[in-house]
Amino acid sequence: MNATPVRQHRPEAESETHSISLLLNGKQVQLTVEPWTTLLDLLREHLNLTGTKKGCDHGQCGACTVLVNGTRINACLSLAVMQDGAEITTIEGLANGDQLHPMQAAFVEQDAFQCGYCTPGQICSAIGMIKEGKAKTRDEIREQMSGNLCRCGAYTNILAAIEQAMPACQGESRE
């Protein structure tokens, strides 16, 4: 399939715009945004970073989970303009070249998805959860991952993938 051509961000004429800077997946970017553009729409509609998914646009599914300053949040319920100065990591920023992040590799190995649409959010959420350090038992992981719906019902394998990747991720967040 062909790569998607990059759509230029076009602020509506005469509308109020704001200049923001983000450290996005390790790269410093300067952007002009309208106040009503959400972080999710900035990523998907304006920057062509469609790896972060829109599953509800209302904070009800977790598909848009990204890491902001290391913390997992729903990108759909934050305005881009409010993130000025933030460090943002999306699913596109996790792998090191062809080397998958341990959580990504574990998701593939454990078959922790079917359609793949909730997957970027699940992976970012799992990484954020491990960093929070509050989920240790299986039941705690299940509870702490309940903000990420998977309609395919791959929860059993998602749990297995997180358990598999947890030691490697803990090592990483200590560094």
């Binding site: 009503w36 997992r72 729903n74 759909c76 319920l77 305005l79 959420s125 959860m129 702490q144 903000g147």
Partner: protein, 329 residues
């Protein structure tokens, strides 16, 4: 989402000055942006208050805790002082929403969450809260998640927060600032019942801002329970929730707090019922009497009558768990 202007002041006074009549403050944004996307909220201006110096948790001189309005829900829930002294609050917060939302949502914003009533959220249907005078769709429509206490013919919506149920039980105080200065609102007076003005959720004036929530020293850390009943194991709003705190003198009750969520337009408390428990034996019989008294006058609708009996049982269970200290560390 409608068009609006955006600003980000650094100080409370500046924020108050910038706010216009049709403007709104935004902190976490988890509820406001949701409502704006549904066209339920259409502010002409957003004043981003995230830069205001309201993000500290401090011990008060009285020995309580003062939580800045901008402190994130997850920060509150995992704060060592909260875990130690107010575990009821921590449990309530962690029973609500998802980890992601708790990482975004602010303390002040949580107090201002609007109802999950289906009709309120759907601009294609009547709702007196959203559009005064248009009628209440829920009254004779889908009302499974609606109120059994304190409702009016105008509105049968419920307040959706878990955190607020614990704050009600803990007798928190809400600190606010406005153009004419600062004031404090006891938690019980913060949220309103719908009456004939269902469009007003709280007694916060439109030009005021919440600066902090203060907890008194008493935290019921030994004997507490937050019990939440819902339609799935997690990430669902309460059908009924109970925040319970007890102090025991041997086998009798020294002090009691009971607040209910999911049953009314505000966290539901009856100080008289709590007072009547003092000196009573810490038994199921006492709890049942309290439950009956709390639910006196409860009236359900086509799809939510079950909540009355469910709440009764939940109160008894929560008080029993609190007395047994099953949740204490």
């Amino acid at each position: 989402m409608n068009r609006f202007s955006y600003s980000k002041p650094q100080q409370v006074s500046e924020a108050l000055q910038q706010l216009s009549d049709t403007g709104r403050f935004i902190a976490g944004g988890t509820n406001l942006l949701d409502l704006m996307k549904e066209n339920v909220a259409r502010p002409s201006q957003l004043v981003d208050i995230n830069a205001l110096p309201l993000n500290k948790i401090e011990t008060t001189q009285a020995g309580g805790l003062r939580i800045g309005a901008l402190v994130k829900n997850s920060t509150v829930a995992y704060h060592p002082d909260v875990e130690r002294v107010y575990p009821l609050l921590a449990h309530a917060i962690l029973a609500g929403a998802s980890a992601q939302l708790r990482n975004m949502a602010s303390t002040g914003g949580n107090l201002l969450q609007r109802t999950r009533c289906y009709y309120f959220y759907d601009v294609g249907t009547p709702c007196n809260k959203r559009e005064p005078g248009s009628g209440c769709g829920a009254l004779e429509g889908q009302n499974r998640i609606h109120a059994i206490l304190g409702h009016s013919e105008q509105c049968i919506a419920v307040h959706p927060s878990d955190m607020c149920v614990a704050l009600a039980a803990l007798e928190a105080t809400v600190h606010v600032s406005g153009p004419s200065g600062n004031r404090s609102i006891p938690f019980a007076d913060f949220h309103r019942l719908p009456g004939d003005t269902p469009h007003l959720d709280t007694n916060l004036a439109p030009d005021e801002i919440i600066t902090a929530v203060e907890l008194p020293p008493r935290g019921f850390a030994e004997n507490f329970a937050y019990l939440k009943l819902r339609d799935r194991a997690s990430y669902a709003f309460a059908l009924v929730s109970v925040a319970a705190g007890l102090e025991l003198n041997g086998t009798s009750i020294g002090a009691a707090r009971i607040a209910l969520g999911g049953v009314a337009h505000k966290p539901w408390r009856c100080p008289e019922v709590e007072a009547a428990l003092i000196g009573k034996p810490a038994t199921e019989e006492s709890y049942r009497m309290a439950a009956d008294a709390l639910l006196q006058g409860a009236v359900g609708f086509e799809h939510n009558r079950f909540k009355i009996e469910l709440a009764r049982r939940a109160i008894v269970r929560a008080l029993s768990e609190a007395a047994a200290g099953v949740n204490a560390q």
